[in-house]
Amino acid sequence: MSARPPLIVVEDLQRAFGDRTALSGVSLSVAAGSICGLIGPDGAGKTTLMRVLCGLLRPDAGRARVLDADCARESARIKAELGYMPQRFSLYGDLSVAENLRFFADLFGVPAAERDRREARLMEFSRLGPFRYRRAGHLSGGMKQKLALCCTLIHTPRVLLLDEPTTGVDPVSRQEFWAILGELREEGLALLVSTPYMDEADRCDMVILLHAGRVIARGTPQAVAAGFPRDLREIVGSPEALTRATSVLRDRGPAGLAVHRFGDRLHVAYDATRDSEAVASLLAPLGVQAVPVAPGIEDVFVELMGREQAVAR
């Protein structure tokens, strides 16, 4: 195994806002040349974690280091090597694509000659070249996000923090955006990306599920999916049969059974050794049956989150 150096290292991080815990015992490490996906609901602590990493927030306890420098005490040292794209990245709508890039280059003190070289490269890399003179306010959602990424990359950082960079972006633009992230990974950057899209989670080297400030699952996407804690079964049928199966299982199914609908399928999670017979006898009159299916990351997320919320309530 090639030991690539970890560029982001977080150990037992704690942070509260008043009596609300934002981060509790979070540890993670992101190596050069890899993408770590951060998945969690609204308020899970994803943005707080990123803000601690860029030195905008001090942790209450624990350590956060980027490129071997402490994020809280040595943030000035980190800034030149770190790119942070917040959820609402402030592009200047009245400035052109090229002017926005120049603005961020000046902000980071990129020398003029160097700036032109990087600008040319980023324009080619993002395929925004033909839109160089278009006002940022007139770009499509996907192009705006690509421009924001270019602005984040203008000072050639080695560590990138991207907070939901593709939310609200259509699938074609998301695919292009992730192709760019793949190239950055090849160049050896360490990327921490939060996303609500589970297909994007599958493109990461490592995934972390965050809930209420705690890590509830971590690993490669395959390992996280394989960690589904119960048995997952799928039921296929007509919309009417599925509607009936849903209510029968929810009303009369074994305790703890979870049922979720996906168009022409139901996903049902339960303990198969204990409950298979009960489920089969409920489904038989409806003319449908539950067959084993491989869980995805989304199934794991929903299962674990459902448990956490059941405990919280």
């Binding site: 996907g142 609200g168 699938p171 899209y197 297909d199 168009g263 022409d264 989304e298």
Partner: protein, 248 residues
Amino acid sequence: MSIVALPTGGPAVLARGLTKRFGKFTAVDAIDLEVPRGEIFGFLGANGAGKTTAIRMLCGLLKPSAGEACVAGYRVGPESERLKRHIGYMSQRFSLYDDLTVRENVAFFGGVYGLSPRRVDERAAALLPRLDLARDQGRLAGSLPLGYKQRLALGCAMLHKPRVLFLDEPTGGVDPLARRRFWDLIYEQSAAGVTVFVTTHYMDEAEYCGRVSIMAQGRIVALDTPAGLKRGTSRRSMQDVFLAVVGS
């Protein structure tokens, strides 16, 4: 061809040659649609493909440049005002009042839809528990997590028991569990006979729809069930179908 006003038993949404031009730019280019009652219809497309413009015409908010449409039995244009009373609309930027409580938002939207205070009380009592918002009634809408705000916005759009619900990217940015809860509500509405017309960028949600259309540059370039689209393009997921139809 002319569409006569349809009885309620007819299709919930019908469009023939529906077109919208802004100056020289054609945002929606002669689209045809027929959505039966109770269907969950996925209205997909890239950013800027014309989806929101089409929805705004179908809701009677924007006048078509050409073509005709009929929604919930009313003609877009001549009967737009009556049409609006029978549809619900929830957009990607929900129009909730952050400084009002959950219950005050409900009362406000009830008033907008012309419901009596007693009727608002009845609907609130029926809807809020189903939306899992019953104990948040006194909370400011602005302080709710995004998933709850979305459910509240949906509830506000359903107060007047609309026959057709237009949802424009209702689940943008929420986590999978909140999205599933939202979709459970959509299935309930569909089972009760409400037609749901929904746009989304989540291709797994496209799989949840009865039928799906894909728009590109103002035109509908594909329309079928998710299974039919996958078969027709020899792709295994709606994500791949979308990329095959819209990409390149």
